[in-house]
Subunit: 404 residues, 2 copies
Amino acid sequence: MAYTWISDGGITTPRGYRASGVKARIKGDKGDVALVVSSPPATVAAVFTTNRIQGATVGLCRDRLAAGRPAAAIVVNSGCANACTGAQGKADAQRMAELTGNAVGASPDRVWVCSTGTIGVPLPMDKIEKGIALAAGALSETGGGAAARAIMTTDTVSKSRAVTFEIAGRSITVGGMAKGAGMIEPHMATMLAFLTTDAAVERAALGNCLRRAVDASFNRISVDGDQSCNDTVLLLANGAAGHPLLTEGDADWPAFEDAVCGVCRELALDIVRDGEGATKLVTVRIVGADDAADAERAVRAVSRSLLVKTSWFGGDPNWGRVIDAVGYSGARIEEALVTIDYDGVRAFEAGVPSAAAGLRALEAVLRQQAFTLTVDLHLGNACAVMYTCDCSEEYVRINSEYMT
Amino acid sequence: MAYTWISDGGITTPRGYRASGVKARIKGDKGDVALVVSSPPATVAAVFTTNRIQGATVGLCRDRLAAGRPAAAIVVNSGCANACTGAQGKADAQRMAELTGNAVGASPDRVWVCSTGTIGVPLPMDKIEKGIALAAGALSETGGGAAARAIMTTDTVSKSRAVTFEIAGRSITVGGMAKGAGMIEPHMATMLAFLTTDAAVERAALGNCLRRAVDASFNRISVDGDQSCNDTVLLLANGAAGHPLLTEGDADWPAFEDAVCGVCRELALDIVRDGEGATKLVTVRIVGADDAADAERAVRAVSRSLLVKTSWFGGDPNWGRVIDAVGYSGARIEEALVTIDYDGVRAFEAGVPSAAAGLRALEAVLRQQAFTLTVDLHLGNACAVMYTCDCSEEYVRINSEYMT
């Protein structure tokens, strides 16, 4: 790891970015419109939800990505997902781009738009219009924190991160912000993340880098197994650091991709730590699987099992529910070969529980705010990891509140 | 439907069956050993869990099924699943068959054995031995209720059903009992069901009948999406009604299969109604899917979604979470074609929420203890149904209690 964390860093830490977060009264007296502006305009990489139901702004961002033009600004509202809103929703998303473009002096097709919040409700365009004007007036090079707060929904804390490293004697910065706490906010509009860098990066390489970083971070977390229709991750690279254009295969490439992966992973873990009602961050590792598909099946089954997650909440080293989940995952498993460890403390091997002497040690692991559960199938060499959290009564309370 | 429900009917309602349920102190002061004896011995059909981790008694029952001999008795204990117990577990299961065979005067290979309860703990064989002796002494033709109580774990009510119908002027009875409330009891040993009939049925036909009945009942319910390693359904047919041997294709066959399906479905619904912490029984129907696989994916995604289930608990007609779950299920879906109804009240169509006028009507549906949610994809003719329940804070409380 060749990068250094910047304390209180965020999306305006890299050079050439200004941001703001303002209250447009879409969801009461909290920030709900965020604006990020890049000067010069930035090359963009993007990853979207794979849900077949997608919000209007996801469609707009996909069009921008296909067009391939640099981005001047990103505008984000929270409190309303603009999903399942039909033709009106598409027109409203386009109108948000126009209003923002006019306010910051950019062509609307260089403005990216994201929404998160309740679905099936039209955007309150009068409030959005005032919010965008307010946000444009509030832009600053220290506005990253306000922007991160304005994209929050059920999040209890805002999530900003930044790292710095060097390429050819020049310092490069990668910053980011994210929102997400359940896989959902009131209805389902859930995870958004925005990354900025002052590096100059070739467009296709930037896209490959982001896909790999998202696969190893945001695609490795699970709060409740539900997947939203608005999930979007954007990475802007504006080249303000002034070094030669970077691409895959360059000697400096690994340092850049490491930094992007580091910011993505930490923001992803921030989301799990802030999981609705969560009290514990759990890293689930499957090792020794027959093949990668089996490792993936097993790690997802364990990470999504409600019985496993409620037992973590209860501080219970309940390996029985873990092996049960692996058993129904579809992965090949031979009971007599499996070992299960909690932070290195053996709980199960050779088909039976490990010596009762270890129970106190297991309980001590479960009392921690974070621990690693390792299931070794001892069948092959494939492995997979997920970052997840426990499930508490508070999760049910939050999500059973009437929303419609 | 050519059969009639028998009030307070159960596994001893058909002729030729005796049963008992006694307290062996395996799990405190509740019934925990059940015994069912068939005279004459009965042809058996069986369906087992597909989990790759399977309890010792599942292995024993599979051996009995392969051998194909009539069954004289079933012995069941609750409080200990005898799963993940290695070679000792297999020996203990075999010993239960021997003890029971000796007690009721039958060969051990005609005794079927089931266990449900905590996993990874050896059977307390001293208690089991006393329990079997006690149960053999308590056998009676009215013991079905006591047996149904003795197989309970986190169940709050026992589950017994029976129906009667006629074949060639003779009355035939099909009875049954089941246990299950989460997909689990302390750890995971979860759903068991036992059916008895005095019909005389050809063995292969009996197996086909049970597989179809289970597919339409126990395989159509979901409480929390976890699947146990001890799930077992047995159907005994002892021919005590004295009619000619029945097989598929006979004129009377549909009446028999209907009766078995009816008992299985009602026992399955009893399990969902008694779902841990559940307050509502919800029938989820996907219609108009492209093909059967898509219908299945969609109905399982909706029925398992924690966000959907918590919204039901909150009385919220939150169709957004429903369409979101269909969206990530992998089923083909075109947003503009989808309609969503709650007990026939339209919530969503043409890509947007239905008129707000219907909201009060939707809320009234959600206040009921049971309702049907129908998602019509309007793409084809395939359909699928699941019976499920809501998820409450009580579910988390029950399952986060320390068990290990």
